[in-house]
Symmetry: C2
Subunit: 254 residues, 2 copies
Amino acid sequence: MSVRTKLTIAYLGTDFSGWQRQPKRRSIQGELERALELMTGGIETAVSGAGRTDAGVHAAGQVGHLDLPVEIPSDGLVRGLNGILPDQIRVRDATRVPLSFHARKSARGKLYVYRAAWKQPGLPWLGLRTAVVPPISDEAAIQRAASLLAGQHDVASFTLPDAVTGSTERELYRVTTRSTRNGFEFEFVGNGFLRYQVRRMVGALLELGRGRRELDWFRSLLEKPSPGAPLKTAPARGLTLERVYYRRLPRLVC
Amino acid sequence: MSVRTKLTIAYLGTDFSGWQRQPKRRSIQGELERALELMTGGIETAVSGAGRTDAGVHAAGQVGHLDLPVEIPSDGLVRGLNGILPDQIRVRDATRVPLSFHARKSARGKLYVYRAAWKQPGLPWLGLRTAVVPPISDEAAIQRAASLLAGQHDVASFTLPDAVTGSTERELYRVTTRSTRNGFEFEFVGNGFLRYQVRRMVGALLELGRGRRELDWFRSLLEKPSPGAPLKTAPARGLTLERVYYRRLPRLVC
């Protein structure tokens, strides 16, 4: 018999090679699996994530699932793992779930936030999660383009050729943009995201905001989907996976 | 001729051995001085701090001064230093000041915040600046004791024998305590602090809050000052030097 557990995980991704386990590199998945092995006295346990965040990307609510041969009380699992994990990775919650639950396949949506600023934030605990980018002059252009992103699209232009594995159709339920003190913030809620998609969407939107590209160029990225389209990928440090949705449809969360 | 500059510095102290330069260890002062040397092409420049924060302690507004043989525009100094410094240390501001300004001697007060929680914060960027402590049951006891701290006292009980170098009299202008989501926060404004003083005051206050000590015990710490009095020093990770005051008296800042 096997007991399935859903973990909610937060991490400051700065010093990690991303979610995915890799030989000889510090990854979030690798650290979690190592902590589980230590905690269970040597049982190798795979943690399956809702999605693979890239090197330097952060999470406030990444989700993973794992199977254990025995039930460990949730509270003990959270405390035990947090006692072993580095401070930059925190298990926020552990919940027993049915074996039908799958962190990636059961997910109905994800919320990503991208924080950009033209002036480096003075506080390092904020700065570590913010990308410094050239200032924008045309906020309205960003908003017009962002509104084109909502809905179902082939978003292949926002990934790279090597990262394409299946369908490149995705639905974005909500795109929100807002000015912050010395920068700009983007929020994306969608049913799923291709690799690099958020960072490349942000990169393209920022080009528009700087007046270096026109709305037609942005429209053509959606109308003529092409992996590796020439546009800048915004830096990883500005991106945070805030939440993964399982029950309610994200469109109802607005 | 020499040009004096005041720097305002923020840092996440987790991975550093404290403010003070030490051989073979990563210190805030050491990192700043190394960055200045790189930036000036080899000019060794000492950075004199308003106070020495201990290993693991953070700052949102530490202050230091330095002398350079030439004037470097403030903006260039901030950008240049931040380009070299690790992400955990940020120079927030650089201002030219008269040679009479001294980061430590000119300081009229400091504001420290101590963040304690009984449940580890789920978000690492907050958790790294919060100490996990046993829960308290008697908030009123903490408030009664905290009110005794305000004013001029010999606070020797809150330091350790090895750290005593001169007078152990200090004035606390304001002590504020408040409940937070899963914890408790302390704010101290005073004209100066002995080494370990804030962490040992917090350690003593938390003992009262847990009902393990009485108010009379706390009063005797002040009435019979004795370095190294038997009390717990709260963990460094919960402490942040928020601000150093130079112009206005901190009591007027309330």
